[in-house]
């Protein structure tokens, strides 16, 4: 027996041990014991029509949504040229993409480029790459994280901020206070607090030759430049810890982040092949630093959501939007599952999960690199992978795909 066969037989035996014969209900007696839904025979007869209930209700709901959407579309005021970068409550007019050649600002409607920030603009080192991007202040302010070689040859990370004008131009590009992080390599997760005063980002600190770098969450106060670091407590022998996404809880005192245990981690912080055992955790960051494990676990991996690659708390703090991969692994260098599911999981008791988007058409990029970002309202979600776009009633509305873009924000 191979190791895989042994582990499989062991796991199946463990499941079997959980189903003890003496705890099984007699035939037809399960429902009377657990709340009286009727006997198995009655249930069987009832399901003949009940199985149609969900599709019929869904079809009715979709019809209603289509009718409402059409009505709203007909009577909605058309966006005026100029004005702010983001109409209140509406679809953001511009989105910002981080790509291999720098940062680009594009019009949502047409994909036309309105501004560019070069790869090396502002960064003091000879080579720097954009690692992360996040929007704040209702889509007007942005933070971009560069990492690369500093003037003295060591690794450095720089955090720059800029804002968008009403015409989609970039203004005020500057290194933020406390935004130079010497000796740290930037990760891919960045988030701006709801009031725009703090930024949280993942960084790696080299520990020792051939030892995995120490993963930390750095929190920078943009007004004072004060920094705090959160690390450790999630270690597991034989695995790397990865944090592919961070979001802020309302109030700006706590973070919600996705942690994974990976056999291997790509340079952008994503797990290599394998099931990453995801956990969505909270972390209170009001102190001067501490352990990543000091918060609590909000969500575990589930059967259908075992390979969660992104998890963002909604701005109202009532749900978590997760991106999960499933299905067959494809790809040569870094095979990844090709089915992608975006769901909103409620944190309130009794709430129902909502499927926001599902695709089984190979939208996942090699290496499993998927990014999810949201506007300030939580209504408009941006998905970036092999294809990028925003989620509109269960559909991916494609956006112009910049070459090599790996994350978008608005």
């Amino acid at each position: 027996m191979t190791r895989t066969e042994e582990r499989l037989a062991d796991a199946l035996a463990a499941v079997a041990r959980g189903v003890r014969e003496e705890t099984l209900p007699p035939l037809g007696g399960r429902d009377t014991a657990r709340g009286g839904r009727g006997t198995a025979q009655w249930r069987h007869a009832r399901r003949k029509w009940a199985r149609w209930l969900a599709p019929v209700a869904a079809a009715a709901a979709v019809t209603l949504v289509v009718i409402l959407a059409s009505t709203v579309h007909l009577f909605a005021p058309r966006p005026q040229p100029g004005g702010t970068a983001r109409p209140p409550g509406g679809l953001p007019r511009y989105y910002v993409s981080a790509e291999s050649t720098g940062i680009q600002v594009r019009k949502t409607a047409t994909g036309a480029v309105t501004a560019r920030i070069g790869l090396f603009a502002g960064s003091p080192g000879p080579a720097a790459f954009v690692m992360g991007l996040a929007a704040g202040d209702n889509g007007r302010e942005f933070v971009a994280e560069y990492t690369g070689q500093g003037p003295n040859g060591g690794i450095e990370t720089w955090l720059y901020s800029f804002h968008l004008t009403g015409a989609g131009r970039v203004g005020g590009l500057a290194l933020v206070k406390g935004g130079l992080l010497p000796g740290l390599q930037g990760g891919s997760a960045v988030a701006v607090s709801p009031d725009g005063s703090k930024v949280a980002l993942t960084v790696y600190r080299p520990v020792r030759f051939r030892q995995p770098d120490l993963l930390q969450i750095a929190v920078i106060n943009l007004r004072t430049g004060a920094r705090s670091y959160w690390a450790g407590g999630l270690d597991r022998p034989g695995f790397h810890v990865s944090i592919p996404s961070i979001s802020w809880a309302p109030g700006g005192d706590s973070l919600v982040f996705l942690s994974q245990w990976c056999r291997a981690v790509t340079p952008t912080g994503f797990c290599g092949p394998g099931v990453p055992a995801p956990r969505v955790r909270t972390l209170r960051v009001t102190g001067g630093g501490g352990q990543l494990s000091s918060g609590r676990v909000l969500l575990h991996g589930l059967v259908e959501l075992s390979n969660v690659v992104q998890a963002l708390l909604t701005p109202d703090g009532k749900a978590v939007d997760v991106v999960a991969l499933s299905g067959q692994y494809r790809g040569k260098a870094h095979p990844v599952p090709q089915d992608l599911l975006l769901a909103r999981l409620p944190l309130t008791p009794g709430g129902h999960a909502r499927l926001l988007y599902h695709s089984d058409h190979g939208v996942v990029r090699s290496g499993g690199v998927v990014f999810l970002s949201s506007d300030a309202s939580g209504r408009y979600l941006l998905l970036t992978s092999r294809r990028n776009g925003w989620i509109d009633h269960g559909r991916l509305r494609p956006l112009a795909q910049p070459s090599g873009a790996f994350t978008d924000a608005w």
Partner: protein, 195 residues
């Protein structure tokens, strides 16, 4: 917690063939299924298989009970030719597929989340060290295509031979072999192991 002596067994029950009950008519094209004997001997085992395939115990119990309820409703009709246990197993697998299809539809249109396959509660140390690894295996198993998952469960939980798996699933021996090999390979890849 005391271990269930019947749990996790790897051998095919020798008395798998059901016999007609006393007083029952014997139709020309097949013996009637002895529901009582099958239920008594194999109910728990079938629920366990269903748990492994659908991921939660209430659904698994529903699936198996529905199979027996249907069999009971058709008790006067001719039974299938050949191995009755294989027939009931096939019915349970069909029930699991239907449950998963319904769940997919419900999930797509706003239904509730699924749950992880039930693992027994053991010591805290066990929970930390072993349960996590098992969950990984089960999650990887769940991610496999349905046919592969069924073949692996029948083979590595029930310990069925390839010919028996072929009979239960209604596929050829070669398909069983290739499906099992691909399933194991995919599982190994998902777990980061060389197979």
């Amino acid at each position: 917690m005391a271990a269930d002596p019947t749990a996790g067994k790897m051998a095919l029950p020798a008395d798998g063939q059901a016999l007609p009950a006393a007083g029952q008519a014997l139709p020309a094209d097949g013996l009637p299924v002895d529901i009582t004997a099958l239920f008594r001997r194999h109910y728990a085992e079938l629920v366990r298989v269903a748990v492994m395939l659908v991921g939660d115990r209430p659904t698994a119990e529903d699936v198996v009970q529905d199979v027996f309820a249907r069999l009971h409703a058709r008790r006067d009709r001719p039974g299938p030719r050949g191995d009755h246990l294989a027939y009931v197993r096939a019915c349970v697998l069909n029930g699991c597929r239907s449950a998963l299809r319904r769940r997919t539809v419900m999930r797509r249109f706003g239904g509730s989340r699924g749950t992880a396959p039930d693992l027994p509660h053991e010591s805290a140390e066990h929970e930390v060290i072993q349960a996590e690894g098992r969950r990984e295996v089960l999650a990887a198993l769940t991610a496999l295509p349905q046919r592969r998952r069924e073949v692996l469960v029948l083979r590595y939980y029930l310990g069925l031979r390839e010919a028996e798996i072929a009979a239960v699933l209604g596929i050829s021996l070669g398909t069983v072999k290739s499906t099992a090999a691909r399933g194991l390979a995919a599982l190994g890849r998902a777990l980061g192991e060389e197979s």
